[in-house]
Structure formats: structure tokens, C-alpha cells
Symmetry: C2
Amino acid sequence: MLVFPVMSTFAVGVDLGGTNLRIAAVDGDGNLLEKVTLGTQVVKGRDYVIGEMTDAIKALIGKYSTKLELQGVGIGVPGIIDKRTGMLRESPNLPGWDDYPVRDEIERRLSTPVILENDANVAAFGEGWLGAARGYNEICMITLGTGVGGGIVIGGKIWQGMNGMAGEVGHVTVDPNGYPCKCGNRGCAEQYGSATAVVKMAREEIDSGNAPEMAKLADGHSPNVEFSARAVFNLALQGDAAAQRVYDRVGSALGILIADLVNVLNLRMYVIGGGVSAGWQAFAPKMFEELRKRSMVYAATAPPDEFIPIGAAAMVESKQPPPYRTIVTRALLGSDAGLYGAARMPMTVKS
Amino acid sequence: MLVFPVMSTFAVGVDLGGTNLRIAAVDGDGNLLEKVTLGTQVVKGRDYVIGEMTDAIKALIGKYSTKLELQGVGIGVPGIIDKRTGMLRESPNLPGWDDYPVRDEIERRLSTPVILENDANVAAFGEGWLGAARGYNEICMITLGTGVGGGIVIGGKIWQGMNGMAGEVGHVTVDPNGYPCKCGNRGCAEQYGSATAVVKMAREEIDSGNAPEMAKLADGHSPNVEFSARAVFNLALQGDAAAQRVYDRVGSALGILIADLVNVLNLRMYVIGGGVSAGWQAFAPKMFEELRKRSMVYAATAPPDEFIPIGAAAMVESKQPPPYRTIVTRALLGSDAGLYGAARMPMTVKS
């Protein structure tokens, strides 16, 4: 008798950031086969970047499709995507990519189905597959990067909303008279929870004359905001009061934001990722204090110990026989969440 | 050849309010067959109220099940329902109903399947079936009554969240340092958008000495807060500045709340109902101004004329070829939304 073994599968995930272009082949069980990192040479234009990307994808497909069955290609992009047309609608970090059939062009060059998705949504999907929210079908992910993004997963699928603009949690109002935001609002969560905001609030502390340690730091400051946000965090860890005041404001804003999300969505799992989430120790106490005060839904369902170790959410869950626990925890996969999430997308499409 | 006509269907919907107990037989096409209104004699206790309710339901079932096939009984209840057990978890207006198998007891007495659901969720479902959101599968309804409640419909189904607590839009923070709320938070939407809040803010205007007309009104004030909120609205319509200031605060808070909801959910349809929605003319201009400013998602998708006549949402939609329009409109069915929504629930359950 001849036995035809069932072929294992793989997919290619792409994280097209404003700085790095990362491409990975991932198998159906979530094992990384290979990862390629290129600089995103945005200045060389759209066609150049797409060419670099498709060349690298083709190389990976060529290498692995002899042994594994290709499921497709998923690409996470910073910006709003029109899912019908496969075009970018707003993408400040990729100038000149609007009104261009990005998905169709990449599909044409690869002769393979391609799924485009907003990067924050993709990260939520990745953390749900292999990260902090592994095994959860309802997830809200908040990404604290240069800005604040978000992604919502409902029923195991990315919740797009009407036109792909769902999950804009960074623009939820946490203080109606607060800092102006470029979106036109005041007091958006992004104005308090992003790396840019940490640096801005640190600058205010320095200008007030009450932050001598931060002032020293600022003399040799880095142009990279995520790096600078981390430097403020390090000072907070060392007990610097001004740096801690900055992170208390981060925590307070996140507490208000998450309280709103819990009250409206009542999901089981909220994951906080992005560069600023490295400052968890400095902002989490204030965040949980605010969250408990501002959401009775959270207060009724909070785990006894909120400070769940990274990745231990599932354990905490199983220790709590009443199945109603609202978990707020840190992301596990770091910047790889977007890569894994992107690769996962074509694997979950039912044709 | 014998022809067996397919039997038409009906269901019984119940709206169990703190004041009125209303019971209706509704056919599968949404026609009201009969409506019964009883006072909810909460003081006589749970068993008395359940007895009154089941007697009236039995009478309707007896009358209509000879000609129509009964689909079941749906009951809207003020409070949080544990869907697994069919018990009320929190229901301040129905003291003594906690920790009692409400659904099972009603099912036992009727020998018919019963669905219990939170009243704000049921109203959203009713407006989606026959009201302002007719034909929409994704709806958020905000009910401005004594408090502020909410219901979210996703994929044509009530979005329960983890444990039935989703849609608590009344406790979204619209001002982090605002009025204290009994939920433990400050600045909840309910503290600005409910009838209770309108009366409270009117009282503040009177106490400030700048509201002579409202002061006259307050001398003969009614103990019914929804009636009083309407009296303040009538003054605002007559051009009274103090009354308009109160409704501007209502509009401002609702604008912040809906901006948050649009940014997070990106639904097509937001419906505002409940007694205070009668004051639409007085609060809507400020609400839309705030909403447009605070949600870029809304600003990108707002219909050219926001002041959509009641019930005309579908028309507006069809006039806009790009299919992405965020509609914010008034509820159509008034207090009947809960009755129709309750009757609809057993009709949509797939067994």
C-alpha cells in the first residue's frame, strides 16, 4: 500500500515598518523557519520597497515550498487598509503609497494570494496565536509605540469594523481638556501612552526645573523616542521622582483607556505591547489602580493578583474556577508579534 | 394534491421594568398581535411578579398558539444576567431577585423555552429589527433613561462579552475629574447624559442664581426625573440660556462617549434612545460638534447632513455611493424597542 503523507504547511509573514522590513517563513505550528530583516528604504520609493519585499518573499517561498505547502502571504502595514480594494487609505509613514493597488501589485509579482492588514491588528493576531493571549478568541491589544495603536480580535478574527478603522484605541479621549492631538481631538490616549508622549512629558518636567536627573540625561539625548522613553523608565526604576511622575501619567491614562474598553467590550484579555510596554513596572501600579476604580466590570472580574507574570495568563485562568476573569497583561512576542500574526492570516482564511 | 400551509410564527416578548411590566405577542414579521401593560408590583415580591408575568404570558400563548407556531419567550430585565445559569447578577431595581433561578422558574411554569437578557441589549436588538437600525447587523444603542445603558449588536447577535457585562457605555469616562458615580468612578457618561443628570445639572444652574425660569419650574417640580428632564428641554426649546447650558453639557458628554465608541468599534450605526433622547434638538448640535472633533474615524465617514430625520437612516445610506457612512441617529420605537427585541430573541435562536 502506498502512503501519501499529508504535507505540512507554511506561510510568509511580512512586517512592513517605517524603519525595518521584516519577512519570515513560519510553519503551521508557529515554528519560525527563517527570518530576514531589511531596512525599509522608504526614500527610494514605493516600487523599490515593493521590489525588495517581493524578492525576499520569492526567495523564501522557493526555499520552503519544495517540502511544505504554501498557504499564502500576509503583510502588516502601518496605516488604514481598504480591504475591498487592497489599497492603503492613510499611511503617514509610507508617503506615496495611497491610491495605489498595493495588494494587487504584490499578488501579481508573486502569483500568490496576499492579505494586507493594519500592523496593530496583525500584532493582536500574533499575540493571540503564540503570545500572551494564546488560546483566547477575544482579545484587545494596545500597542504603545511612537503612537498608540490597537487591534481587536473577536471570534478568533480581526474585528475590522465598517471600513477597517476599528481599534483606534490611541484616540480614545482620556482627558477632554488635555494635550492637543494631530487627529484634531484633545487628550487622546496616545498623548500620554506613546513613546513620543513620554519624551514630551519628561521635557515638561525638565522645563519645570524639578527634574535634575532627567535634565542631565537630556543633554545627551537620543533622537530615537523609544530609546529615550526607555531612558526615562530606567530613571524611574532607580527611584527618580520626576521620571516616576511621567510614568504615573502613562499609567493613569492607560487605566482610563482600558477601563473604557473593559466597560464597552467586556473581553477576557487585554494585551499591552510596543516599546513603551518595557516600562510596565513603572506604569502598571497606577494603571491597575485607575482601572479598578473606573471600571466596575473590571473590579468584579479582576484576578486576585493583577501582576501576572508574562505569559502566565493561561495558568492564572486555570487556577480560577469561576471562569470570569479579566486579564490585563504584557505582550510576549515583542516586535515578532507582527511577523507571526502576518503569517497566521493566510493560514486562517477559509476559501 | 394536499397542500400543507407553512404555519406562521409568533413569540412573546416581555419588558420587565422597575415600574411597568409589559408583555406582547408579536408575529414573525414584527406585527404586534397584542400588548398587555401591568404595574410591576416589586414590593409584593419576586414570586408575585413572576406569577403575574407567567399568567399573562400563558393567556397570550393560549390565544395565539392555535393559529401560529410559538417560537418561545424573551424577557428583557434591568440588570446583569448570567446567561449560563439564567440568574440575575445585579439588579438594583428588582431587590431580592439575585441568586434565584429566574429563567428556570419561568420555564418551569410555562413549559416553554425562555431567554433572559439585559434590557438595554434587548432594546438594541429591537431597534435593529424594526426601528432606526433596521437592516443593520452592527449596532450600538445608547439608552438615556434614569441611568445610561447600552447594547451592542455584532453580526446580528447581541454582543455579550465575557460574562454579559458588555455595552456598559454609561460608565465610560468622559471627564476623569468629573462628578462621582455610584459605580466608584468619576465623570461617567451617565453623570451627564441621564435624566437624573439633567435634573442634577439644572439644580446646579438654579443654585448658581443664573436660571430664573428653571427656578420657577423647580417650585412645582415632579418627582419623575424623566418628566423633569423633559421640562428642562422644553425651556431650552423656548430659548432659555440656562436650560440650553444643561443640554449642551449632555451633548458634549455624548459626543465624547460616541467618539470613543466610533474610534474603538467603527460600526455603521449608533442609535440614541431612552427618555432623554426626546431632547435631541437641544443636545444634538453640541454632540455632533464634539463627535466630529474627537473622532477622526467619524469625521472621515460622517454623512453630509448629520441631522438625519428619524427612521431615514437607510435612505441616507442608499444616497451615498461610497458605502462607508457612520450614522448617529435617534431611536424609533421608544419604549416598545424592548418589547419587540424581547420577542425577536427566540425567533433568531438556531436550535
